[in-house]
Structures are given as C-alpha cells and as structure tokens.
C-alpha cells in the first residue's frame, strides 16, 4: 500500500465517480458537479498515476454516421486498491492515528 499516491479530495471524488459507472468526461462532470476545467486535468493525472486507464469507444463498422468516438475511463487494479483503502474505515483510522502520532 506504500506505493499508492496521496490524492486530493477532488481526485478521490473523480475516482469514486468512475467506479460508480460514470465512464466519460461529461458524465463524470455531472456525477461530481465539478467543471470540465477541473475534471479533465484530474483525469490526466490519475491516468499518469496509473489509477485509471482510458480507451476509445469501439464502434461497429456498419455505423455510417459522423459520430466521433468518445474516450472512456475505467479503474485499474491499482485504482481499485486505492479506493478500497480509501473506503476502508479501519485503514482510514490507522492512517489518522499514524498522522496524529507523528
């Protein structure tokens, strides 16, 4: 657990939003009530920290419309581990205890 990065509350909110099934930028904005100028830099940093992974929307070849593919985000194993730690009350209390002891 030592290699997990320290994240801001907004980043944790975005991570939680992705884990709840909001997988593209605008839905994450709606889920977190944060503007696009906050959400997209957080997504870039989470991707750089390997907590999430992005992929382009797959479209069947028979679709002839001009709809551009969206970018979808999903949690990595590391991201799931981070959220599990973040949501674990025991881990949180241990962390708080360690911080107050130091």
């Amino acid at each position: 657990m030592d290699d997990l990065p320290a994240l801001s509350p907004a980043s944790v909110l975005v991570l939680t939003s992705i884990s709840q099934g909001q997988i593209y930028g605008y839905s994450i904005m709606q889920g977190t009530a944060m503007p696009s100028g906050t959400v997209y830099p957080i997504l870039s940093r989470l991707e750089k920290a390997e907590l999430i992974i992005s992929r382009w929307q797959e479209r069947p070849p028979e679709e002839k419309d001009q709809r551009p593919p969206r970018k979808y985000y999903s949690l990595t194993v590391k991201g799931e581990a981070f959220l599990a730690t973040e949501n674990d009350p025991l881990a949180t209390s241990v962390q708080v205890g360690a911080e107050s002891a130091s």
Binding site: S8, Y26, Y40, P41, K71
Partner: protein, 275 residues
C-alpha cells in the same frame, strides 16, 4: 446548433496550439468528441460553452505537466540572436517605409483630415514614441540588473564569473533587440493609437517575459537552451515536496532546478554543475 459546434471546434483548434505537439492530436480528438456528444445530447448552448471553455484550464494543466522542448531556432545563443535580428530586419524596413510615408502625409494637404481622424498626431506620436522607448529601455536595464542568477554549487568562482558576464551580455543584447522590435511596432501602428498603446505595450511585456524565461532555461556555462525537462514535486505540497522543473544541459555541463512557484527570500533557481 451547427454554427455553435463549428465555433466551439474552432476554439478548441486555437487553444490546442498551446499544447506540446505530441499531445495535440489526442487532446483535440477527446475534446471535440465530447463537445459533439454534448451538443447532440440536447444540452443548452450555455452549458456546452461552459464545458468548452474548461478546455483552457486543461491546456494550462497539460502545459505545466509537460514542459516543452525549445525550438531549434533558439537553441544556441547565436541562433537565438540571429532569429531575433532576422525578425527585426523586415520590421525595420517597414518602419522606415511607414515613417517616411507618415512624413509625406503630414506635409500633404491631407494632413488636416489625418489630424482630425487620429487622436495622436504623427509628430506628437514621434515624441511619445521616444518617451516610451526611453522608459522601456529603463525598464529593460532594471530587469537586466535583476537578471536571474542561479545558486551554484561550484568552487570555480573565476570560471563562473566569466560565464556569468557572457550570460549578462547575451541577456542585454536580447533585451535591446526586443526593445527595437517594440520601437518598430510603435512606428508601424502610429496611425492606430489604441493598437499602438495597448497592443505594442502588451507585446513588449510578453517579449520581456519570454526573454526572462529564456534566460532562466539556458545553461550558465555554454548559454545553450537546457533540454529534457522533467516535472518534480506536487503543486499542493510546496513546502516539503517542492514543485519544480529539472532541465539538463545537452553538452553535459549540469542540471538546473527551476521552481514553478518560487518562494520569496530564496534564489529562484539552482544550478548543479556536472563537469
């Protein structure tokens, strides 16, 4: 709706120019697709523009996370001065041409019409130009006196001082060339007072800022632009985990640490010599 989408895509294209080239295509595809889906999802134009304007914050964050490599035109000090001189040359010719044109116009029967149309008459504008140029030169000298001198972990003070003198000379030459660009800009916009005052002064301030940033990112020994920028630290941990960019000299002279947000009371950058 279609017109809004076209404007929004144009806006995204324009802002994407500020991104590093390697990240531009993917960034543009991500944002354009999202804007298209928002527009076609029945969202109002205000909401869709609010989303699009957020791209500016994303661009700024990306630029901070991916510091850019310098252009090869300004990599070496000679190349940098040559490029600035080459930009100066056509502007000087244009400035001479336009100033002679303005003089002819002034002695022409049309002068009354010009005087009526322009807020600043040409001869007064010349005086004002000289005044502003002198003021700018003064600012340049003051800025030069406060030239960023990095902390150095070296024992060779004599070599360091010689290199520092070269750096100051190069810095002053750059500022002089920037000032002359400003002067030509003033001459060229003599008949457009708002553009002359606001546009030229803004451009001059931008050029000065560029000159300072350029000087910060040069090797103090060979004066070449430092390369391979790497981001360290975290913006929210400015005390214990300093937010800084590390550059390395291509010739192996050393490593420069430049804080993104310098703290007061401390040298803005630190140079670690490797040779």
């Amino acid at each position: 709706m279609r017109a809004t989408l076209v404007f929004q895509r144009g806006f995204l294209w324009g802002t994407a120019c500020a991104l590093p080239a390697f990240a531009r295509a993917e960034w543009l595809a991500t944002w354009s697709a999202e804007v298209w889906h928002i527009q076609n999802g029945g969202v109002g134009w205000k909401e869709s523009w609010r989303f699009t304007l957020g791209s500016v914050a994303d661009i700024l964050a990306s630029r901070r996370d991916h510091p850019q490599e310098p252009s090869y035109l300004i990599h070496s000090p000679a190349g940098c001065l040559l490029t600035m001189a080459l930009v100066n040359a056509p502007l000087a010719l244009l400035g001479l041409f336009s100033s002679s044109l303005y003089r002819n116009l002034w002695f022409n029967p049309l002068r009354d019409a010009i005087r009526g149309r322009t807020v600043i008459p040409v001869f007064n504008a010349w005086h004002q130009q000289l005044y502003i140029a002198a003021l700018c030169f003064l600012i340049a000298i003051v800025v030069a006196a406060a030239s960023p001198r990095p902390r150095v972990f070296s024992e060779c003070r004599l070599c360091w001082n010689m290199s520092f003198n070269r750096a100051v000379l190069f810095y002053l030459t750059k500022l002089l060339l920037a000032t002359s660009l400003f002067e030509y800009g003033l001459t060229l916009t003599a008949l457009l007072p708002p553009l002359q005052i606001y546009g030229s002064v803004l451009a001059y301030v931008c050029m000065l800022r560029w000159a300072i940033r350029d000087q910060q990112q040069r090797c103090p020994v060979c004066l070449r632009r430092l390369t391979s920028p790497v981001q360290f630290g975290h913006p929210s941990c400015s005390l214990l985990d300093r937010d800084l960019q590390e550059y390395v000299c291509g010739d192996g002279h050393g490593v420069m640490h430049i804080p993104v947000a310098p703290l007061s009371g401390e040298s803005p950058q630190a140079w670690l010599p490797l040779i």
